[in-house]
């Protein structure tokens, strides 16, 4: 910090008591870096949360029934029977057979077709996309399996969300990581402000002693340091916020270029932006509070 007017005339016509205790020129830059990283970490955490919520809302009630049978005739019969049973179940909101030709055209690029090949000969399972009225809990999945066992012995029932369980786990881990990162950055901010404030106190010791002798209170002296901490943190916070937001915008543009549904689900809502915008404000508050406590505790050791 740079201490400038403890006690010279300063901004807003308020008389300074100390020179502004500039906390040292690196202060705003350290704060800027910390705020930028925090903004990116917070945006990532919020985006991951949104992506997870979006995906699970999509998949929660989703179930896939596969009829795995090598014989196309048996496969079709069982699929029709299964579809009929499913549509009668009260839990089921909707059940649709995935069009076989659509499936085939999906698979074609992988399997290839040569003249004379009949894709019907390939043992492609029939797929039924089922939407439940409630989340696809393991209980519901096995109830469906039981209901289908009679008419379609070749049916395999899977909750769609189950496919993504490892992805959800990874998202949760990344969110913890983002949280941990933010905690570390908070500690880094506190450490930077404490060190800067201590250095400024040493530089200003002579003046502080004089101000004490003239009846200045610890609170008056601390206020000068708080004001400087606020200004420097605000400057750093603004730079950090801008840098962080630029990084988020670039990153999210690249993610949405992936075209994946998951990535588009990660889009930040207005509330998320409010949270991100609040980060530099929290940084300023943290810097002011840290400067105050550091200065007051140091002053208490003086007579």
């Amino acid at each position: 910090m740079n201490a400038a007017a403890l006690f010279g005339r300063s901004r807003e016509g308020e008389p300074g008591l100390l020179p502004d205790p500039r906390l040292g020129s690196p202060m705003p830059w350290v704060i800027a870096i910390v705020i930028a990283l925090t903004v990116i970490a917070a945006a990532s955490g919020l985006g991951l949360r949104n992506a997870g919520a979006h995906a699970s809302a999509d998949l929660n009630g989703g179930i896939t029934v596969q009829i795995v049978s090598a014989a196309p005739a048996a496969r079709n019969r069982q699929a029709d029977a299964a579809l009929a049973v499913l549509r009668r179940l009260p839990d089921v909101a909707d059940a649709q057979r995935v069009d076989q030709s659509q499936l085939e055209s999906l698979l074609e690029p992988w399997l290839g077709t040569r003249p004379g090949d009949t894709i019907d000969d390939l043992p492609i399972p029939a797929l039924i996309d089922v939407r439940l009225r409630a989340p696809a809990t393991p209980d519901r999945v096995s109830a469906l399996q039981t209901a289908l066992a009679g008419v379609a012995p070749a049916a395999r029932v899977d909750a769609q969300a189950a496919w993504l369980t490892p992805v959800f786990r990874a998202i949760a881990t990344l969110q913890w990581l983002a949280g941990g990162l933010i905690a570390l950055l908070t500690v880094a901010t506190i450490a930077a402000v404490v060190l800067a404030a201590r250095a400024a106190l040493v530089n200003q010791r002579e003046t502080i002693e004089i101000v004490h002798m003239l009846g200045g209170t610890d609170a008056q002296i601390a206020r000068v340091f708080q004001r400087t901490a606020a200004m420097e943190a605000a400057a750093g916070g603004t730079i950090g916020l801008i840098a962080g937001v630029v990084a988020i915008v670039v990153l999210s543009a690249q993610f949405s270029a992936l075209g994946s549904g998951m990535a588009s689900g990660a889009a930040l809502g207005w509330l998320d932006w409010v949270v991100i915008a609040a980060i530099p404000l929290c940084g300023v508050a943290l810097a002011v509070l840290t400067a105050r406590l550091t200065v007051l505790s140091a002053l208490r050791r003086m007579l």
Partner: protein, 267 residues
């Protein structure tokens, strides 16, 4: 507040030891009464500055009792120190001006610390700088002032808020005899307004200029009492009350010069 002769300061068997050395002050007992003018003399190293430091609460004694403004000053909780210090004006032997502030801002400091509004600060500070002959140096930083000029800034700062007690450590050590006399008049005017004045000095001529003054002499850390005035309220020819107070802003000595600008009070 204080009854006419209630003491403003009382030292009882005070001793001060720096670190583990021998005592710089030994068995110091005396009483100061409000509105009196005291000189503190003694050879260099006798302990004058040490005694004044105790008096302006920059140092705690190693032993003994100190009462100030009717309160035990030794057990005074830290948060009450600023209130006490604002009742004191101090001219430090080494001036202790704030280097990054102009002469004006240094003199204004006690008023700002006391929360006086900015618009009420300019006039008294300018008048005071004018009185100590520094009107044209008001924007100068201490480093660009001569020793005597710095001393005058220090004095102006000590008296600007019209303290209850003025403690001055060799306040005329760096100025010529004429300026020394003028500064002494400033102290006397303040004294006539009711401020108790304690001036440490080697200058015998200065002491002789204040006929009503009381003398405390330090010798190797021990206090002697040549006027016998320290234990009991001394007699005083003029009383520091109404007539003098109303005359103070004007010249009360009839020597043709205007009195010092002590119209300001923070209280």
């Amino acid at each position: 507040m204080n009854a006419p002769d209630a003491e403003i300061v009382q030292f009882d068997n005070v001793g001060l030891r720096y670190g583990t050395g021998k005592e710089a002050l030994t068995d110091i007992s005396f009483t100061l009464y409000p509105g009196r003018f005291y000189f503190l003399t003694g050879a260099s190293g006798a302990g004058k500055t040490s005694l004044l430091k105790l008096l302006y609460l920059a140092q705690r004694p190693s032993r003994g009792l100190i009462r100030m403004f009717g309160t035990d000053a030794i057990t005074l909780p830290r948060e009450r120190l600023p209130g006490f210090r604002r009742r004191l004006g101090v001219v430090f032997q080494d001036f202790r001006l704030v280097q990054h502030l102009s002469a004006f801002d240094n003199v204004a400091l006690p008023l700002r610390v006391a929360g006086v509004a900015e618009r009420e600060i300019t006039k008294p500070v300018d008048e005071m700088l004018d009185w100590v002959g520094l009107a044209d140096r008001r924007h100068a930083r201490p480093a660009t002032l001569s020793g005597g000029e710095q001393q005058r800034v220090a004095i102006a700062r000590a008296v600007i808020a019209r303290p209850d007690m003025l403690v001055a450590d060799e306040p005329t050590g760096n100025v010529d005899p004429d300026m020394a006399l003028k500064l002494l008049r400033l102290f006397e005017s303040l004294n006539r307004l009711g401020t108790t004045v304690v001036v440490a000095t080697h200058d015998v001529h200065l002491i002789q200029k204040v006929p009503d003054s009381l003398i405390m002499r330090l010798d190797k850390g021990r206090l002697s009492d040549p006027t016998g005035a320290l234990r009991f309220p001394p007699r005083r020819t003029s009383t520091p009350t109404e007539p003098v107070l109303s005359a103070a802003p004007k010249d009360s000595r009839g020597d043709g010069q205007g009195g010092p600008p002590l119209g300001f009070a923070t209280k």
